[in-house]
């Protein structure tokens, strides 16, 4: 009983800043946070509407979020492809840049870099894939190898009349049903995020 009280009290002091490139990413991460830490954990989001804006305004936004009471920070930035040669950008370089831009934040911080898109995570779970595509699709053991995972989810979700059942507005719903352990096993960016949350 005492243990429960202590945990609850600690969680009630937490206010997590969620920073991502768009609203749907923020909504999905928020669901993951609540599933790992409990729905009572307070969050505050900033959707930058684009990767360059995220980088340009990250330092300033972190200050604002900090002054608004956030004491834990999660920054999510896709590892995009270079549109000219289709290769993935350099993850180490991106992480260093985001670390540097957020270096003024001394409290707990995690930088999450999904390979290409956060939507790749959903390909890790057979139940999510079945939910979207029935028997048509198959979960992928290495979702980071899927090119354009978002478009592939739309394609997967098309029914006989070619009507899609999935849009990125569904991401928070899919995050609710995502198998955390399986996704952790198959997606390193997700594994590190969950590890960070469980360490709080």
């Amino acid at each position: 009983m005492n243990g429960f009280t202590v945990v609850f009290s600690m969680m009630s002091n937490i206010k997590i800043a969620l920073i991502a490139e768009d609203e749907t990413d923020c909504a999905a991460i928020r669901k993951i946070v609540h599933r790992v830490l409990g729905a009572e954990v307070a969050t505050k989001k900033w959707a930058s509407n684009g990767c360059s804006t995220l980088k340009k305004k990250l330092t300033a936004k972190l200050k604002v979020l900090s002054s608004e009471g956030c004491n834990i920070f999660i920054v999510v930035h896709d590892l995009d492809r270079n549109p000219q040669n289709d290769s993935l950008n350099n993850e180490v370089a991106l992480r260093s840049k985001l670390e540097a831009l957020s270096s003024e934040i001394k409290s707990l911080k995690h930088i999450c870099i999904p390979i290409e898109e956060l939507e790749a995570w959903f390909w890790s779970d057979p139940e999510v894939v079945k939910h979207l595509g029935g028997e048509k699709g198959k979960a992928h053991p290495n979702p980071h190898e899927i090119k354009s995972p978002k478009e592939k989810l739309i394609e997967l979700s098309r029914d006989g009349n070619r009507k899609p059942r999935y849009s990125t507005n569904d991401n928070d719903k899919l995050a609710t049903m995502l198998n955390l352990d399986l996704c952790s096993k198959r997606c390193s960016s997700f594994r590190e995020l969950v590890k960070f949350l469980r360490s709080l």
Binding site: D22, E23, T24, N49, G50, C51, S52, T53, K55, K56, D80, N82, P83, Q84, E151, I154, E155, R162, K163, P164, Y166, S167, T168, N169, D170, K173
Partner: protein, 376 residues
């Protein structure tokens, strides 16, 4: 302008001709390629009388399509010029000359319509002529072997031009005041629709009648527009009548559609349009940003992206948010010179520059509207 690679976003200053392009597509699909030859006199002014477009095929060939509207003069003795209602209800009749041909290679003519007769080449260059425009083709050649057009590219351009759904931006004052939308169903027909809410009610009712309202409901839920769209029927007192007749209203979370805000109706209209689209159609949306909150617009764009994936979608816009949603190669710059409207894509060097800009400096909307393209 390419019409085979999904999204095309038209950007340009006011008066550059974006709306004229969209109206051009509409008049081609409704009139010249379609079968409509009668218009209310009030509508005729907005139809381009002469129109020429050039499109790039999936095999990188250039096709020119042009038409000319020809009025058919009829007696106007039924029109009372002192009675506006009489003028508004009067119809004018038209016919169309049109020509579709390649501009490169051997410059083959795909079809040519003149004075109500359409000529084209069958297989092995045998000439054929039919009465009516090109859409009459099926009537004359209905056996299985000739269901499709005989010449390469003909089916593609016909489908592109014929299957267009267009959703124009609302006028400045769309409704003078809100009122409940109540329509009557009688003799399997719906009473005439008056404004945008009535027209939307009618479309949603037809979806309901076909048992297909669930999809609209689920999309509305995920964009946060409402939890439940329903149709309420009020039966008339004509119990003795054998004709099924009732008044109905469409409601969003219990609120009559006519009482919703203009922005909500606009979002609902766009969702209806994209949900109802069929594979192979070209969807045209004029300024989707009008009347819509940026957060809702972001969700709406997500739905548009989903429903038009693999389809042709043309959007005109003045919104940096909509431009930022697109990728640089989908941008079509519209400008006007010497009385003509031109459409061009970003060049390779420009795309290279903008990609560098996007990764570090800003988004595509900022870049396009920064004035960087003004000197060209």
């Amino acid at each position: 302008m390419s019409l085979h690679d999904g999204v095309s976003v038209l950007v340009g200053r006011n008066g550059a001709g974006k709306s004229a392009i969209l109206e051009g597509f509409e008049s081609i699909t409704v009139c010249a390629i379609g079968r409509t030859s009668r218009f209310r006199q009030t509508d005729i002014d907005i139809i381009p009388k002469i129109l020429e477009i050039e499109v790039l095929t999936p095999t990188n060939r250039r096709i020119e399509y042009k038409y000319e509207l020809l009025p058919i003069f009829t007696s106007d003795e039924d029109v009372d010029i002192d009675d506006p209602a009489s003028i508004n209800s009067a119809e004018s009749q038209f016919s169309w000359n049109d020509c579709c041909r390649y501009l490169d290679g051997q410059k083959e003519i795909l079809w040519n319509t003149e004075n109500g007769m359409t000529s084209f080449n069958m297989e092995e260059h045998k000439p054929a002529t039919i009465l009516g425009n090109i859409s009459s083709f099926g009537r004359y050649f209905s056996d299985n072997s000739l269901k499709k057009f005989p010449v390469d590219g003909m089916q593609w351009i016909y489908t592109i031009l014929k299957r267009v759904r267009i959703l124009c931006k609302p006028t400045i004052i769309q409704r003078y005041k809100r009122r409940e939308s109540l329509l009557t169903w009688s003799r399997k027909r719906i009473s005439r629709s008056f404004d945008s809410a009535d027209r939307l009610s009618e479309k949603i009712f037809r979806l309901f009648d076909a048992g297909e309202l669930d999809e609209l409901n689920s999309v509305c839920q995920r964009v946060g527009l409402g939890e439940n769209i329903s149709v309420r029927k009020f039966f008339s007192n004509r119990e003795r009548s054998e004709i099924e007749e009732y008044v109905f209203s469409v409601e969003v979370d219990g609120v009559n559609i006519g009482l919703l805000s203009d922005g909500t109706i606009r979002v609902l209209s766009i969702l209806m349009e994209v949900i109802s689209s069929k594979h192979g159609e070209v969807i045209i949306i004029e300024e989707p940003e009008v009347q819509i909150h940026p957060a809702m617009l972001a969700k709406l764009l997500n739905e548009i992206e989903t429903y038009t994936y693999g389809q042709n979608l043309i959007i005109s816009t003045h919104s940096p948010q909509v431009v930022a949603w697109a990728s640089p190669e989908k941008i079509n710059l519209v400008h006007r010179k010497d009385g003509k409207t031109f459409v061009s894509k970003l060049g390779e060097a420009q795309i290279h520059n903008v990609i560098e800009y996007l990764s570090e400096e800003g988004d595509l909307g900022e870049w396009i509207y920064s004035g960087i393209l003004d000197d060209e």
